[in-house]
């Protein structure tokens, strides 16, 4: 191929089904040689009409439906859905249930962040890193399976509280597992901070400046990887997070590596939060009975593993919502890819896409 051919601008389609993509989405890239000049994203390949389905089910059934919007942050969906119903109905969740909800959330966050960073290893061909992180994550999967009976959908949230209680033996089991995970996770974090291969593929790649992060309204580790200290667990009061001690993690690198480091450090914070919940778990009921359903509307938010998750509900006095709407974190992060991928190398695309921890299933609902 002649040099003049290589420098010609051309269009390259990637997706909707492609080995570099976990889920179907279509990128139309304008390339100059191997350099990406322009990105166009087309979505909609797995739109399932779930918001419409929610208006044909009663409030209880929607707990099950919303938990199936996504697999990695499934618990955050059912949690935030229950929170929005509880807000609309003016319900107060018992304290023990609030601690148990935080415990489930942080367990899922730990697992989700480790999965994403493991996939980073896979994307750069660092297979031993991928295997090592997935091996550590397997302990977290064991926690989920032993405590809740499932490895992905915990099914613990219900309107007014939780369904799954923990006894002394399960609490001891979780403590032991967390003690096994933490040193391995710290080792992985050190590897990310020092390894030359990881740095070569992730440092100064997929840059998103703080100004652009604000402009595009990105959320979660993508936002915090650009140095913006915003975390719904800290900025908004929900569950018992205001009573727990944790750090809002930020990194200033604004690149793929910064986002990976945020996730690994947040995973350590999740262990810290889980231990506090196990230590301070109070006695008491697990849930409150359902209150009367008024004609009203409400909004609730939580910090899912990928960032801010928003639920809106409008009730009409019946047990079936008139409207249920949710906005997932990935929805806000997709457009920022046009900034991150501009002028990047073609080979960096999988790494950059993975750095926003994208979820098409969530986005299209």
């Amino acid at each position: 191929m002649s040099e003049s051919t290589l420098t010609t601008t051309y269009t390259l389609p990637i997706g909707p089904v492609h080995v570099a993509l976990e889920e179907p989405i279509y990128f139309r890239l304008t390339l100059d040689g191997e350099t990406v000049r322009k990105i166009h994203i087309t979505s909609g390949h797995v739109h399932r009409g779930m918001e419409g389905m929610a208006t044909q089910r009663n409030l209880f059934k929607n707990t099950t439906l919303t938990e199936r919007v996504c697999s990695l942050c499934s618990n955050s969906h059912s949690l935030t859905y229950c929170m929005v119903v509880e807000t609309a109905l003016g319900m107060t969740v018992p304290l023990r249930a609030q601690y148990l909800r935080v415990l489930a959330e942080e367990t899922k966050r730990l697992s989700s962040h480790m999965f994403n960073t493991a996939i980073f290893g896979h994307n750069i061909g660092f297979t031993s890193l991928f295997l090592h992180l997935m091996e550590i994550r397997e302990h977290v999967q064991d926690i989920k399976e032993t405590l809740y009976g499932n490895r992905m959908n915990l099914s613990t949230n219900c309107i007014g509280g939780v369904k799954v209680d923990l006894d002394a033996s399960l609490i001891t089991y979780m403590r032991e597992k967390l003690d096994m995970v933490e040193p391995s996770l710290r080792m992985a974090l050190k590897l990310f901070q020092t390894d030359a291969i990881a740095a070569k593929r992730a440092r100064n790649v997929g840059i998103l400046s703080p100004d652009k992060a604000r402009e595009y309204g990105v959320v979660g580790p993508v936002q915090r990887g650009s140095g913006i200290a915003e975390d719904i667990r800290r900025t908004t009061r929900y569950l018992v997070y205001p009573d727990l001690d944790f750090e809002v993690i930020t990194e200033d690198g604004c690149d793929v590596l910064a986002r990976a480091l945020v996730r690994l450090r947040e995973a350590l914070q999740s262990i810290r939060l889980a231990r506090q919940c196990l230590d301070a778990l109070p006695a008491g009921p697990l849930h409150e009975p359902l209150a009367c359903i008024p004609e009203t509307e409400a909004v609730a938010r939580s910090e899912a593993p990928r960032g801010e998750l928003v639920y809106f509900i409008r009730t009409n006095g019946t047990d079936t919502p008139a409207r249920l709407k949710w906005r997932v974190p990935s929805y806000m992060n997709w457009e920022a890819l046009t900034v991150m991928m501009k002028d990047c190398q073609l080979a960096d695309i999988p790494v950059i896409v993975n750095s926003i921890d994208p979820c098409v299933s969530c986005t299209e609902r």
């Binding site: 208006t55 309204g217 900025t235 908004t236 409207r323 457009e335």
Partner: protein, 256 residues
């Protein structure tokens, strides 16, 4: 502008500024003490002004919700709710729409991340977002009409599998030749004398309807291959292809 907002306390200056544009302005609290401001605008053209006030208070757009009486009916959207985060608190701008125009002004010049929600509302609810400079499709393909999900078949019904018996009855009619686009000729005589439908068994090939050739059934190619194979090994071909009597017996058993 410095804002005095937190999740439990919305800046009174912001509440007052939005109240000037509002038909209703209501502050609510949840069980954790977080404040929520619900502002119902008078006309949709006030939206950019209200959004500019929120931007001055360092707000971040969270999402936009389209509301109608029935989301499965091809009827105009009643209002759009714009939900903003203002330092932890949520401010919702309820923007009523004129059903005859179904138009709302864009706020992408103030909040760039309004682009996706505006485009989604436009294509799924058949709205016109005035001033949006990127009106390309987000989820629906270009050749599909806007708002079509409300007009053809509710996707939720399709996903539930609750599609009644219409589809199966249509397939049955196709097989019997009563459907308009059937590949089979309609059997002659009264319906009670028509041949029974053949149930496809795993171990037995489907038996052709009486009087139909392989070409009519679309089996011509397969049949030619079978003949070729039979030429090589008559014994093997006999074992794989059951006798017509055996097929008929098997069919009757299956129907019984």
């Amino acid at each position: 502008m410095e804002t005095k907002c937190s999740s439990t306390h919305i800046d009174p200056a912001l509440v007052a500024a939005l109240a000037d544009l509002a038909e209703e302005n209501e502050l609510r609290k949840d069980a954790y003490g977080n404040e929520y401001l619900w502002t119902r605008l008078v006309v949709p053209t006030d939206l950019p002004h209200a959004a500019a006030i929120l931007r001055a208070h360092n707000a971040r757009l969270c999402t936009v919700t389209a509301l109608s009486q029935n989301i499965f009916a091809p009827e105009p959207v009643l209002c759009l709710d714009y939900h903003f985060d203002v330092c932890g608190a949520v401010v919702s701008l309820i923007t009523p729409l004129d059903p005859s125009e179904n138009t709302v002004p864009t706020i992408t010049h103030l909040f760039l991340n309004a682009d996706w929600p505006e485009r989604e509302c436009a294509e799924l609810y058949d709205l016109h977002v005035e001033g949006n400079t990127n009106p390309e499709r987000l989820f629906l393909a270009d050749e599909i009409d806007q708002g079509i999900l409300n007009e053809v078949i509710p996707l939720s019904i399709m996903m539930n599998g609750a599609c009644t018996t219409d589809m199966w009855e249509h397939i049955t009619a196709l097989n019997l030749g009563t459907a308009p686009h059937s590949v089979f000729p309609k059997p002659e005589g009264p319906a009670e004398n028509w041949p029974p439908l053949v149930k496809r068994e795993k171990s037995v090939q489907a038996s052709p309807l009486p009087g139909l050739t392989d070409e009519q059934l679309g089996h011509g190619e397969k049949s030619a291959k079978a003949e070729k194979k039979a030429g090589k090994s008559e014994k093997t071909a006999t074992a794989e292809t059951p006798a017509p009597e055996a097929v008929a017996a098997s069919t009757e058993e299956g129907q019984a």
